[in-house]
Symmetry: C2
């Protein structure tokens, strides 16, 4: 076994490396009702003009705008009421100068009419309508195809579908939606001290926290977690889990035990069973990260401190999952804030510091021990201190990468 | 039928009213793996001290801190190596002055030892260890119970569970998690022009957009949407859907057709079948909102313009769902930004304006027609113009409520 642990790579190099081995997810079709948060696998286009006809956007009267010029409360324009337009009637009316139709919101504009006067500015008197305000051509009318024109691309491949997007997909007829398959992510926990969550740990043992950090993180990022198992210290078992895992999974995450010996077993197995592309990242906590490939399936070895696990998930694995899912990371996960205290940092080394957002978008660094779970539970995200800086100052604006 | 449509209430009154009729969700237990985003129904406590023993937080040597005072590279402290501590061994070692144990990260501290010297600052020479830096008492040691003490409340009732929270729940032994049940939300679309999504609309017809806006929104807010059906113009059908719906659902959303006639049918049915608490809200778009109760089940009548539907969902229904789910709305859904242009507004009326976030947290108002879907698809959220203001100015800091 040759260890390249000492040649640490930078976080951005690790991210690029991880992305370079991300398998693309094949497309599938899901029901519109199940498409929230999914990623479009192809451009979607409208099969119809929306609206399909010139529609009124208000309750009122469809008119020739020119017939209302100079209309006022005291000298209204008087138009002949030619009829009432019903919703969904399908039959198209037509209008001549000096006439108007009563029209509901959403009603189809009659031929000739080019504007709608809101009912508030009218009085119906017998067979006539008094219009007390002028309207401009096009006023209160939504033109055919103004919302989405037939054949136009409504969303491009890679769009992450929001609730309002699903409304638009309904409008353009996507009862089924073409999306990327969710990646299946196998999860292995290692460490001779690890016991399942439903067991009470004896002295020297700890419960399997990392499997759940990984599975919840995968789910949050739109993947399907698959628990492959806990390996205490048996190398054969690890090999067999990895071999069967690569056939079922698009990605495997192995969170190591916290001892160096166990980490060595994970590394040794990855060196013999696959190809180790990087072993060690300039990330604190999170240095002993392994990026490997077994039979074309990316395998990420993650250090076993829960806080280090979460950092590696958020800073490296996240980008891998995003690349697999085929979307660009959204702006909503980054937020500007002001530092409330100075943070010192070793120059020449990129550092990530967990922070908590406090009132008025202020970022408070949490300097907990990296092994403690409560520091990740309390934090809202991390900020990056670039390698070229010796620290950040209170009052400085920082970008918070929300967990 | 008595209509109270003309007595409009303010948005905050509508929100309070909706919250006042929100039924509380009963608790249930779900597997830890399924608990992401769920809301705790009770306080959860740790059943054990975490860590369960004083642990080393680094690879190195467990020592008496006092034995390292004044240690330097040139004049190291020499300690006798008493042995090596293995992970998960369970057997507790003990240490005398002048001795040390080799200890891995996570290893159990021997009795007597009060600090760990990192391996980087030591040399092993035969049976001795040269320590080249002093350590303080407690350095590189995580004390028993320091992360979570036995019996301590780790999360309170109402906590929305994040990925890192699930890691902490694993640590404290919650293989099953007590959460609030998800509310089942029945959805009815009305309007004689409405056709199902998989049909191609004829002239005068539109596809059922609002059912999907509602269902996706409900899902996003942690509820379970249930499509009750489309009612074109049949009052009996509406009554029967509502009657069967209130038995199956914790909340019913009825999105009206866009015409006044149809809206009247919805209102008339709600006036006869239940109790209408409010009819009309000072919200644009979104004025013709109905807040009602049928047999103790809240029923919200929502206007049929998709953009108005989405506004009412985001500004009113959201709070109702949050109240039902039993959590406080999170800070992540609000974000500060600067307006890029002036917005004028009618004084005395609270207004909500859709905005798009542009580079560097700037908010660009979108002044689209409220009936257009593309304005909600393009927007990231809304800002509120208080009733007392005549508008907002370019450069002003605003709070964006993200969709």
């Amino acid at each position: 076994m040759k260890s390249s642990f000492l040649s640490l790579i930078r976080v951005d190099e690790a991210v690029d490396l991880a992305k370079s081995i991300a398998p693309a997810m094949p497309p599938e079709r899901v029901l519109l009702d199940d498409a929230l948060g999914r990623v479009l696998s192809e451009d979607v286009r409208s099969d119809i003009d929306i609206p399909g006809f010139d529609r009124s956007w208000k309750d009122g009267y469809a008119v020739f705008a020119a017939d209302t010029t100079n209309a006022t409360d005291s000298i209204p324009s008087m138009l002949k009421l030619k009829g009432r337009i019903d919703m969904g009637a399908g039959e198209k009316m037509s209008l001549s100068r000096g006439e108007c139709f009563n029209i509901p919101t959403g009603g189809q504009m009659p031929d000739g009419a080019d504007a709608v006067v809101m009912v508030e500015y009218t009085d119906e008197v017998g067979g006539d309508v008094l219009v007390k305000r002028p309207v401009a051509v096009g006023e209160n009318v939504v033109k055919k195809g103004e919302d989405f024109p037939e054949g136009g691309v409504v969303f491009g491949r890679g769009e992450v579908l929001s609730a309002s997007d699903l409304g638009a997909l309904a409008a353009i007829g996507y009862y089924e939606v073409p999306v990327m398959k969710k990646p299946v992510v196998g999860i292995i926990s290692t460490g001779i001290e690890i016991v399942p969550v439903d067991k009470k740990p004896k002295v020297g043992e700890v419960r399997d926290v990392n499997s759940y950090l990984c599975s919840a993180f995968v789910r949050k990022q739109g993947g399907i977690p698959l628990h492959l198992g806990i390996v205490r210290d048996n190398e054969e078992e690890m090999i067999s889990l990895i071999r069967s895992g690569v056939d079922k999974c698009d990605l495997i995450l192995i969170s190591g035990g916290s001892s160096k010996d166990i980490r060595d077993i994970t590394a040794r197995v990855l060196y013999t069973e696959g190809e180790v592309l990087a072993h060690g990242v300039m990330l604190a906590p999170g240095k002993p990260t392994i990026i490997a490939k077994v039979k074309d399936t990316p395998v990420i070895g993650i250090p076993g401190h829960p806080a280090a696990t979460y950092m590696v998930l958020s800073v490296i694995v996240r980008h891998l999952l995003v690349a697999m899912a085929g979307f660009s990371d959204t702006m909503k996960s980054v937020r500007k804030a002001r530092l409330v205290t100075n943070i010192s940092s070793e120059k020449g080394r990129e550092e990530y510091v967990r922070i908590k957002l406090v009132a008025e978008n202020e970022a408070m660094p949490l300097f907990g021990k990296s092994g403690l779970l409560n520091t990740i539970v309390e934090s809202d995200g991390v900020i990056k201190i670039p390698a070229g800086r010796e620290g950040l100052e209170a009052g400085e604006e920082v970008e918070v990468f929300l967990w």
